[in-house]
Symmetry: C2
Subunit: 230 residues, 2 copies
C-alpha cells in the first residue's frame, strides 16, 4: 500500500525560483499552490504562468488570493502606475523601486491561514537571499522570525513551518538545478515590466539573464533586448 504524502503549500509566483521550489517540494509532499495578485502590472502574465505550472505538476488545489490593497497604498513601481519600472543596477545596495513593503509577511500570513485549514505542515517559498539583499523580508532571519510568529500565533500543535529550500543558491545554481530536476523553465515568467515579450532590462530580467548566462544555458523565454550581464 502506498502511503498518502503529507500536504504542503507552495507559493508560486510564476517565476523560475518558485517553479524549482515546487519541483523540490513535489518529491515528498502533496502539493497545494498559492498565488497572490497584489496589483502588479504583470499580474495577467504571471497568472498564466501560475496556471501552466500548476497543470504541469497536476495540482488541482489552487488558491489565488487578491491582495490588491497593496496596489492601492502605492509606493512601489510594481503596482503604482505613476512610477516607472527602473532599469537594473545589480551593483546598487539601495532598496529598488520595485520594493513592496512587507510583501512576504502578507503572503506568508495567507499561507499560514490556509495551512491550518488543510492541515499542511510545510509552506515552501522560493526566496533567494543573494539576489534580494535590498528586500528586508527576503532574508533568512526574516523567515526564522516568521516561524517563531507561527509557533506563537497559530493553533497549538499545528507545527506549521516555512521552508526555504533554495535560499542559499545563486541564480546560476538555480538554473542548473532547474535543468536537472526538470523544472518547467519554459513556462515561467520573471519580467516586472512586460506581458508578452520580457524586457531584458528590469531587475528581475537582469538577475534571471545573468543566471542563465553564467550557467551557460539558453533561456527558453524570449527577450526584447538581450543584454549580457556577465
Amino acid at each position: 500500500m502506498r502511503l498518502k504524502k503529507p500536504e504542503a503549500i507552495v507559493l508560486v509566483s510564476g517565476g523560475m525560483d518558485s517553479a524549482l521550489t515546487a519541483a523540490i517540494a513535489d518529491k515528498k509532499y502533496n502539493l497545494n499552490f498559492l498565488h497572490v495578485n497584489y496589483g502588479q502590472k504583470t499580474e495577467m502574465r504571471e497568472l498564466k504562468a501560475f496556471n501552466e505550472i500548476s497543470d504541469y505538476y497536476q495540482v488541482t488545489n489552487r488558491l489565488i488570493a487578491d491582495i490588491s490593497y497593496l496596489g492601492k497604498i502605492g509606493g512601489s513601481s510594481l503596482t503604482d502606475s505613476k512610477l516607472k519600472i527602473s532599469k537594473a543596477d545589480l551593483k546598487s545596495k539601495d532598496i529598488p523601486t520595485s520594493y513592496v513593503p512587507f510583501r512576504n509577511a502578507n503572503i506568508l500570513s495567507i499561507a499560514v491561514s490556509w495551512a491550518e485549514i488543510i492541515n499542511a505542515g510545510k509552506i515552501f517559498i522560493g526566496a533567494v537571499e543573494e539576489d534580494s539583499s535590498g528586500y528586508p523580508d527576503c532574508r533568512k532571519n526574516f523567515f526564522k522570525s516568521f516561524n517563531t510568529l507561527i509557533r506563537i500565533g497559530s493553533k497549538a500543535g499545528s507545527g506549521i513551518k516555512i521552508v526555504t529550500p533554495i535560499i542559499n543558491l545563486s541564480k546560476k545554481e538555480i538554473v542548473i538545478k532547474s535543468v536537472k530536476t526538470g523544472s518547467p523553465l519554459h513556462l515561467t515568467w520573471s519580467c516586472y515590466k512586460n506581458n508578452v515579450i520580457a524586457c531584458g532590462e528590469c531587475d528581475s530580467c537582469a538577475l534571471r539573464l545573468r543566471g542563465f548566462q553564467s550557467a551557460g544555458v539558453k533561456d527558453p523565454v524570449n527577450y526584447k533586448k538581450l543584454i549580457s550581464y556577465n
Copy 2:
C-alpha cells in the same frame, strides 16, 4: 505654532474595543483608519460602523482592505456559510468556531505595508487578552513577536511598532473607559451573527453584554435577546 502630530494607523473593526483604541490614539496622533473585510457574514454592518466611527473622529485617510480569500479557505463560522455561529460559552477553554486562523497576522501585515508608505510609526490594535484566550493571535506574546518581525522585515529605520493600549483591560473596564473618553459606543457593532438587531447570544455579544452589565452601564445598542451574563 502648533506642531503636526505624528501619523498612526488604527485598526478599526467597528466594535467597541477598536473605537476606544481610536479614542486613546487620537490624543497624540494623526489618525489613519484601516478596516478589513475578510468575508465575514456581518461585513456590511461592520463597514457602516467603521465609516460612522471614521466620521466621528474626522478621519479622511481610510483604507478598506478586502482579504476575502480568508472566506474562500473556509473553516470559520464567521466566513463559512455552511457553519453555524455558535452560542456563547464564556467558560469554555476551546478555540471557538468563530476562529479565523492567523487572522491578526494578515491584518497587521497590511497595516505595516501601509505604515511604511505613509511614514506612520505606530499601529494601534484594540486586542484584549482576557476575552481572547482561545485565539492564539490575540495574546501579548504574539504582538511582541510581531514587533520583532517588523524590526527584521521592514525598511531599516522605519521604527514601526504595534501598540495594544487596552490589552490588559477587562470588558467592564473597557465600557467604563469608553464612557470617560467619550468613545462613540452608540456607533459601534459587535454581533457576529446579525446585521440589523444584535443577537445577544454569540460570543461577541455575550462578552460585550457582560461588560456593560458588570459596569452598570446601559448598552446603547439594541438586542434581540437581552440575556444576563453576570
